[in-house]
């Protein structure tokens, strides 16, 4: 005799679908109201009823998103600031409700939108693990089981019973991350939070993310690091202005995104005002030193065809042109360039040579070119310093006033410069 259990039938029927899709997003729209002057007290509420003036603007952060996030895959969300990535993530995490549409998820979601957000400063690290764990939907037993792993992962054994208010910010974040990843999440949501902590901890975080990925945890990742998306993610979606631009294998999506960014940048610098520093801008605004008989007025970046470009491409031939204006004839002038990253790392500092290699400059305007067969700089922004000197004597020195943007057509290797070399494989017997 068999007893018919409707519940059993349901789980069997639901399983094949639940097995391949972790999060289903259907026609999701999200409206935020931007209040010009937010009514937060009762008096204003009553006074405005009479006026009936519209006090808010509607702002659609998401304009209809359909997306399936497959189970067991690592999924990246990319897009520029304000494209709706974080809003979508908050909707998926259940923090906000969609204005229209539905989001369904199969599995427990653990969200890392801000590490250690739920910590109570007066409570010990251990108590906070219980609190945070229960917020993530764990039972006390499950938390107890994971406790030792969390403490070991965070590396805070000595401090786990002291109030978290005495923790350094790094310790705070370490504990938060340790909790989020060690509580056996089924779906993990990560928003730009990995770029914290010291080098060693970061490496451990990434190792752990890869480990979770191997174990089949669904990971949804928002980041501006395209290299990370291409590396870690199986699939990616590109959001722009609240709509989906592309979904697919992460490398393809990243390439499309990069191509669009390049196009946009090229377009904006053609019709917009030239954003390279001009003479007026550099005057007074930047630290400018030197006796001033000769001054650099402009720096241009010329592409292969000899035309100025808003940005240069890695590995391509290019010329960096310094225009100058001299008020006197100078018999021995050396031009120099300095390339610095935004974080202050000096990448290179070529100069035109001293002694017999120095130039003689006539009064008036002119330019010097620095030509490269292959630009070794990797994609990024570099600050350019120009120097015009006569041995020890500075005529003109403009510190980091010009910006050089470097782009690549695809995601390239990590690092600041591209080393060109030849690889070869040899075996011991030959």
């Amino acid at each position: 005799m068999t007893v018919f259990h409707p519940a059993d039938v349901e789980t069997i029927a639901a399983e094949p679908q639940a097995a391949d899709i972790a999060i289903e997003i259907r026609g999701v729209k999200k409206r935020f109201r931007r209040f010009n002057d937010r009514k937060t007290n009762v008096k204003e509420l009553f006074s405005s009823r009479r006026g009936r003036a519209k006090r808010y603007d509607d702002f659609w952060a998401l304009k209809g998103i359909d997306l399936d996030i497959p189970r067991g895959k690592t999924f990246g969300l990319i897009g520029h600031n304000g494209s709706g990535k974080s809003t979508l993530l908050k909707l998926v995490a259940g923090i906000h409700r969609p204005t229209e549409g539905t989001i369904e998820h199969h599995g427990r979601i653990s969200a890392m939108l801000e590490l250690g957000a739920g910590f109570h400063p007066e409570m010990s690290g251990r108590d906070n693990i219980y609190l945070n764990g229960s917020i993530l939907g764990m039972t006390r037993k499950q938390i107890d089981a994971a406790m030792d792993k969390i403490i070991a992962f965070s590396g805070l054994e000595e401090f786990i019973d002291t109030p978290v208010k005495v923790y350094s910010s790094g310790m705070y974040v370490r504990l938060g991350f340790a909790i989020a990843v060690n509580l056996e999440p089924e779906i993990l949501i990560v928003d730009e939070v990995i770029a914290v902590g010291d080098e060693e901890f970061q490496r451990r975080c990434f190792d752990h993310l890869y480990e979770l990925r191997r174990r089949g945890v669904t990971i949804v990742l928002v980041t501006h690091s395209l290299g990370l998306v291409a590396d870690l993610c199986d699939e990616a979606a590109w959001l722009d202005g609240g709509t989906l631009k592309a979904v697919g294998p992460s490398r393809d999506v990243v390439d499309q995104y990069l191509a669009a960014v390049n196009r946009r940048e090229a377009a904006s610098s053609q019709d917009g005002p030239d954003d390279l520093a001009t003479d007026d801008e550099t005057e007074g605004k930047t630290p400018r030193r030197g006796s001033g008989e000769i001054r650099v007025t402009k720096v241009d970046y010329l592409g292969q065809d000899g035309k100025p470009r808003p940005f240069l491409a890695t590995g391509q031939p290019c010329t960096i042109r310094m225009s100058y204006r001299a008020t006197k004839a100078l018999p021995s002038v050396t031009f120099g360039l300095g390339f610095t990253t935004e974080s202050g790392v000096q990448v290179a500092g070529p100069n035109s040579g001293y002694g017999e290699h120095a130039y003689a400059v006539e009064p008036g305007e002119g330019h010097v070119d620095f030509a490269l067969d292959e630009l070794p700089l990797q994609p990024g922004e570099f600050l350019v310093t120009t120097a015009v000197v006569d041995k020890g004597h500075p005529y003109d020195y403009v510190d980091r006033a010009f910006v050089l943007k470097v782009r690549a057509d695809d995601v390239s290797e990590p690092g600041l410069v591209k080393l060109t070399g030849n690889w070869s494989l040899g075996s011991a017997t030959s």
Partner: protein, 270 residues
């Protein structure tokens, strides 16, 4: 309805942790620590006893055992009830606002901090009730009617929580709610027979008939029910118990429904 109960049960761990966080965080960093949860009510009791028992000299009815007439104990009985009601009704407002930064980062049901903070009040109430029972034991004013106290407490908790849920979600939208509430509560305090026996009001019924409304104030009804059971050692009466049950259930369901409807988007408002 069963769904609501299941949701609360599912998140019992979280509610417990919020309660825990509230209790542990409350007196952290103070020198006397949890001793304050005893000092605070005793200080209030001493002040009221001095003003209303010694200077103004409100009459004190004789207790159930026939000899106890201490105004301080009489006052304490009502004050414990009032403190519980007031703390549960107001703690949710602060708890929800405090949980705001958290609600914007992680999903959890907004009722968890509100119910958690209400649960934390039980800690304080247990201490006060414990003290009260010890006093009654010492003076020998005990009876079977004490067994009604848990039932009355459940009703009072339901009533207070219903109001607490309503106020918490209102306060999330309009922060002036907490100021209005503090004014209304002090009015309610004097409108209830806490520092004076109810006979002062009931004696005026012949002259001012409309004063009969006074007894329909649920807080009055609760305090009178507790006073009957604890001080007079009398059964509060079926009528009053029925009234309290109906009011408590309605207030809890109303508060809960309102809260669940309004709190879905609370993370955008906090």
């Amino acid at each position: 309805m069963t769904q609501s109960v299941r949701a609360v049960w599912q998140y019992r761990g979280l509610i417990g942790n919020f309660a825990n966080r509230e209790i542990k965080g409350k007196y952290k960093g103070s020198l006397l620590g949890s001793a304050w949860s005893l000092i605070n009510p005793l200080a209030t009791l001493a002040i009221y006893s001095l003003v209303f028992g010694f200077i103004i000299k409100f009459p004190t009815p004789v207790a159930g055992n026939g000899e106890l007439t201490s105004f301080t104990v009489y006052l304490f009985t009502a004050l414990v009830v009032w403190n519980f009601f007031q703390s549960v009704a107001t703690s949710g407002m602060g708890a929800l606002v405090m949980a705001g930064p958290l609600l914007r980062k992680i999903y959890f049901p907004p009722f968890a901090p509100v119910i958690g903070s209400a649960g934390a009040v039980l800690n304080q109430t247990a201490i006060e009730f414990g003290l009260l029972f010890v006093v009654y034991l010492v003076v020998g004013n005990i009876s079977w009617t004490f067994l009604l106290v848990p039932i009355l407490m459940i009703l009072l908790a339901a009533f207070s929580l219903g109001i607490g849920l309503f106020l918490a979600v209102m306060n999330a939208r309009f922060r002036d709610v907490s100021y209005i509430v503090s004014v209304l509560l002090s009015l309610l305090f004097y409108m209830s027979p806490i520092i004076y026996p109810i006979s002062l009001v009931t004696d005026l019924y012949d002259k001012h008939g409309w004063l009969r409304l006074y007894e329909y104030n649920p807080v009055t009804a609760f305090i009178e029910a507790f006073k009957s059971a604890l001080w007079h050692l009398e059964f509060p009466g079926w009528g009053r118990l029925a009234y309290l049950t109906v009011v408590s259930v309605l207030v809890l369901i109303g508060g809960w429904t309102f809260f669940q409807r309004k709190s879905a988007d609370v993370s955008e408002e906090l």
